[in-house]
């Protein structure tokens, strides 16, 4: 299944041209569909009018404008595009800068990879927006970015314009590097305990506070017209932390255990910032009231646990219990494959915890939108919001549901029928290129052989016929070339 979809997708750069197209695109009208608006109830046999990439009208009694492109929704279900609050797709290179304990200088936005096939895979699962996070190797990790899955666009066109940037924090076993053994001669990285994780975070914010003060002093003096002062040195590691303290950057904290979640709340309070989301937060049900009181959101798995010691005390009721106590809860994937069935992951809370269908849907739409501060733009089907929509063939909370079309900004980025129809042509092209390479390789072999024979035939230049005249070539040259050259 996945393989087939992969074959059907081809990344072709054409960003600017498509962007221009979206501005003058004809109106789209989705008609006669069951619409789950998430915030404004469900509509049977309703219509959605899309204009300039936005939702222009939603309702049961809408008529299609004469020149609109029609998407027939008969028997189909439309929901807002799914928002994945924890994703690592579309990243060029490692998602972890694991060298320093505080890797806040690293920025996912620098290394977005629009050609990552996972973007298309996840589109095919109805995901339209994803929070692309740095990994969890450090107490304070790298800077993060929210993207829309605009497959085929340039890296610069992926970020969700207007969304606040974030930063990844991580608590527990990963940042303290449980289970890692450094090779001889290389000291273990500090910290190695949960206590140390706390200390590293506190120390970083103490330094960031001092750094902020340096700049504030400088700016004050400069504003007062004092001459001869040299600006402080910019610090790429501390600047994002200053932004956190100034409320300009969200903290998304990877965590499992209740005790360390409470710890981070205390540290955040000390330095005057708020944790925007606790990620994974498998023991959140134990401290749901405290999380709710702190104003943080929780972004968790439905039923994924037991993969390490700190992930054992988990229950499938976590999401429902936290929601019941007033925590804003989302269900995330943390995985390119799982992201393709977030609708089913959300539905599990209907079984475990008795959530309503609409509350379950909220956990993959409007709730993560609020957590990422983008709920004025996406997360529900309302007039004026971005036309990020998924059309399913069944109720999306059913295991039979398969996404048929995924739209972002009113543009169809995934169309299951077109995908299936296009596979043969792509297969053919691929086979053609493989055959061409094979033929070229054989010709080269013949040529080399001829050259060998010629050399061997020359007097005084005796060589074994099988001796190659070409110098040996190094291993995977193409990989090196793709990686940016060997200079």
């Amino acid at each position: 299944m996945k393989r087939a979809l992969v074959l059907g997708a081809m990344f072709v750069l054409g960003g600017a041209a498509q962007q221009a197209h979206a501005q003058n695109a004809p109106e789209i009208f989705i008609q006669n569909a069951t619409i789950f608006t998430v915030t404004k109830g469900n509509i049977e046999r309703g219509g959605i009018l899309i204009k300039d990439g936005k939702i222009a009208a939603v309702g049961a009694d809408l008529k299609a404008p004469a020149d609109a492109t029609i998407i027939d929704g008969t028997g189909q279900f439309v929901i807002p595009g799914i928002i994945d609050c924890h994703s690592h797709i579309a990243v060029d290179g490692s998602v972890n800068e694991g060298g320093p304990a505080v890797s806040s200088m690293a920025n996912i936005a620098d290394v977005l990879n629009p050609a990552d096939i996972s973007i298309y895979d996840d589109l095919a699962g109805g995901v339209t927006t994803a929070n692309i996070l740095h990994g969890s190797a450090n107490p304070i990790g790298g800077q993060t970015v929210v993207i829309k899955l605009r497959w085929g666009k340039l890296a610069s066109e992926l970020p969700f314009q207007g969304a606040l940037p974030g930063i990844k924090f991580a608590l527990g076993e990963n940042p303290k590097r449980s289970g890692f053994t450094s090779p001889p001669g290389i000291p273990d990285r500090y910290p190695a305990t949960r206590l140390g994780v706390e200390e590293v975070i506190r120390q970083a914010f103490i330094e960031a506070s001092e750094y902020k003060k340096q700049w504030d002093d400088y700016n004050t003096r400069k504003a007062a017209g004092e001459q001869g002062h040299v600006a402080p040195r910019r610090n790429e590691q501390l600047e994002p932390l200053v932004e956190v303290m100034e409320g300009k950057r969200y903290v998304h904290a990877h965590c499992y255990r209740a005790d360390e979640i409470l710890m981070l709340m205390r540290v955040a309070k000390e330095f005057g910032f708020k944790v925007r989301t606790f990620q994974h937060v498998l023991e959140g049900y134990k401290i749901a009231d405290e999380i709710a009181a702190s104003g943080a959101g929780a972004s968790t798995f439905s039923d994924w646990w037991g993969y390490k010691v700190e992930a054992y005390d988990a229950i499938p009721y976590n999401a429902a219990m936290m929601a019941e106590r007033g925590v804003l809860v989302s269900i995330n994937s943390d995985d390119a494959e799982e992201a393709r069935q977030l609708n089913q992951e959300a539905a599990k809370s209907m079984k475990y915890g008795g959530m309503t269908a609409n509350d379950a849907l909220k956990m993959i739409t409007i709730n993560p939108a609020i957590q990422l501060g983008i709920d004025k733009r996406v997360g529900s089907i309302e007039v004026g919001k971005d036309a990020d929509l998924v059309v399913y063939n069944h109720n999306p909370l059913s295991v039979y549901a398969v996404a048929q079309k995924t739209l972002i900004d009113g543009q169809v980025y995934f169309d299951r029928q077109k995908d299936i129809a296009g596979r043969a042509a792509l297969d053919k092209e691929k086979q053609g290129l493989l055959d061409k390479e094979k033929k070229a390789a054989e010709e080269k072999k013949d040529e080399d052989k001829k050259a060998d024979d010629k050399t061997a035939a020359k007097p005084n230049k005796k060589k074994k016929p099988d001796q190659k005249t070409k110098p040996p070539q190094s291993g995977d040259d193409s990989a090196r070339a793709i990686a940016g050259g060997a200079l």
């Binding site: 081809m10 990344f11 750069l13 060029d92 290179g93 490692s94 972890n96 800068e97 694991g98 060298g99 320093p100 304990a101 890797s103 200088m105 690293a106 920025n107 996912i108 620098d110 290394v111 629009p114 050609a115 740095h134 790298g142 340039l154 890296a155 610069s156 450094s182 090779p183 001669g185 290389i186 990285r189 001869g228 002062h229 040299v230 600006a231 040195r233 910019r234 610090n235 790429e236 590691q237 792509l426 691929k430 290129l433 493989l434 061409k436 390479e437 070409k470 110098p471 070539q473 291993g475 995977d476 040259d477 193409s478 070339a481 793709i482 990686a483 940016g484 050259g485 060997a486 200079l487």
Partner: protein
């Protein structure tokens, strides 16, 4: 002893005593390891006239039946009616074509054939002692390493490159994120210093992580963040240092950091910064970073440029195109899944230069790790087969490369006043059957013998050449003495 002998032999040459030349060249062959130090004593012939040749100046239209005068390392004149100085050696160019010397704008030639090693590299993170844990540890950073000071004149590739018509290289250091400063070299000279055309030619940057698993940076984004911090630091030092010097009584002394000092000097002379960018995503990223950092950038790699040629043209960003076209690794798993994107890339990469020419992107060529210079021209031919005009290909190897490196006032074309870097062939330079007959590097003449046929020259009674594919120089040849 060698010294005086050389001086006497050389002196004989300028007086046109050809028998001395005969002895000189025989001696050069016989006495392996003879190193002449007679430079500057008037030892070598300094005046040449290539007559009746087809001349491709690159900077102007082709001249049929023309003459090029080389005088003291420079091109003195070129045309159909030029006066041949009496002291000039005449080289009959009938049936031959004269091109400007080719430039390989990215290679390790001149650094020794094992230059891939770690000589002089900066702290490579995990490999050298305790890992570097942040930007302040300056991982993989040694911008003070200057290629011009590390030339290995016994690098055999100097001769093979030169014999193939490459007179000039941008020789780039390897190892680390800031491996050092590349130099422009002319591939001949008596001493290493003779090779150097420009000492501080470029500051190459690599985005390859150097930290291993335990050091910083161990990711692409960490590496970019590190380069960004170094950029900040350099910008800061450019402010802080003069501010302190102007007011030492009021301002705290900036601490000494070799990286900041060296890179701020490079910034002051607007030294070119080479950013790695091979696929289209890397290219667009590099364009953004060059904008952000406001550096005089040149991209290297460029092989997927066919996807983003317009974006490069819009930014007027020059590109050094790697002629080592991507191919499936020889040892690649035959069953490994290959994406259509990879296959298309391998198929279309040679079309990049044509796309650049069409879009108006200025580009040069470089060999990267190609093992033999004939492969460089062969791979350039692939670009021509994919739609690049031979004229544009020649420009990329000559004037455009020189222009990108800021040296078009002294090399890259056949015009009066330019360095006498010339390659003389018996046909079109991109034709595989074409043979290079003569090469001039800084006005030094090399006669190339690919077979035993001795060249026809008046009065030249050279002993028969018993070694195939050698280049011989008349007098004072450090290379020929091997």
């Amino acid at each position: 002893m060698n010294r005086s002998l050389a001086a006497r032999l050389a002196a004989g040459l300028t007086r046109g005593k050809f028998w001395l030349a005969v002895i000189a060249s025989s001696l050069a062959l016989l006495a392996a390891g003879v190193m002449f130090t007679a430079r500057g004593e008037g030892g070598e012939p300094r005046y040449f006239a290539i007559t009746h040749a087809r001349i491709v100046p690159v900077s102007g239209p082709v001249i049929e039946n023309g003459t090029v005068i080389v005088a003291k390392g420079l091109i003195q004149s070129v045309g159909t009616s030029v006066t041949i100085p009496p002291e000039a050696w005449a080289i009959e160019g009938k049936g031959l074509t004269v091109y400007p010397g080719l430039i390989d704008a990215g290679t390790s030639v001149g650094l020794g054939e094992d230059s891939g090693g770690d000589s002089g590299r900066g702290k490579g993170g995990a490999s050298a002692g305790p890992p570097v844990l942040g930007p302040e540890g300056r991982p993989g950073t040694s911008p003070w390493r200057v290629v011009a000071d590390e030339i290995k004149t016994d690098d055999k590739r100097i001769e093979t490159w030169r014999n193939a018509g490459f007179t000039t290289t941008l020789t780039v250091p390897d190892g680390g994120i800031f491996p050092g400063q590349a130099a422009v070299l002319d591939l001949a000279g008596n001493r290493a210093g003779d090779y150097v055309v420009r000492v501080n030619a470029t500051v190459p940057i690599s985005f390859k992580p150097v930290g291993g698993f335990f050091g910083f940076p161990d990711s692409l984004m960490g590496t970019i963040a590190y380069v960004r911090q170094v950029h900040d630091d350099t910008a800061w030092y450019l402010q802080a240092e003069p501010a302190y010097e102007a007011n030492p009584a009021k301002i705290e002394r900036p601490s000494y950091d070799r990286t900041e000092v060296v890179l701020s000097e490079a910034a002051k002379r607007h030294e070119i910064v080479m950013l790695p960018a091979n696929n289209s995503i890397q290219i667009l990223r590099a364009l953004r970073l060059a904008d952000e950092w406001k550096i005089p950038a040149v991209l290297y790699g460029g092989q997927q440029g066919y996807e983003v040629a317009d974006a490069l043209a819009a930014k007027k960003m020059p590109v050094l195109v790697n002629l080592k076209w991507p191919e499936r690794g020889k040892d690649a798993d035959p069953d490994a899944e290959q994406t259509l994107r990879e296959l298309r890339f391998r198929d279309r990469a040679p079309g990049t230069p044509a796309a650049f020419a069409k879009a108006g992107v200025k580009f040069g060529f470089y060999s990267d790790g190609l093992p033999a210079p004939k492969d460089i021209l062969k791979n350039a031919k692939k670009a021509i087969d994919a739609g690049l005009s031979p004229e544009a290909a020649l420009r990329a190897f000559t004037l455009d490369s020189a222009d990108i490196l800021g040296l078009s006032d002294r090399m890259g074309s056949i015009a009066p006043g330019k360095i006498a870097n010339l390659v003389v062939t018996d046909g079109d330079i991109f034709n595989e059957k074409t043979k290079v007959k003569h090469v001039f590097v800084d006005g030094r003449w090399f006669e190339i013998h690919e077979d035993a046929t001795p060249p026809e020259k008046p009065g030249d009674k050279k002993p028969s050449d018993d070694s195939a594919a050698t280049a011989k120089r008349y007098a004072g040849a450090e290379g020929a003495g091997r």
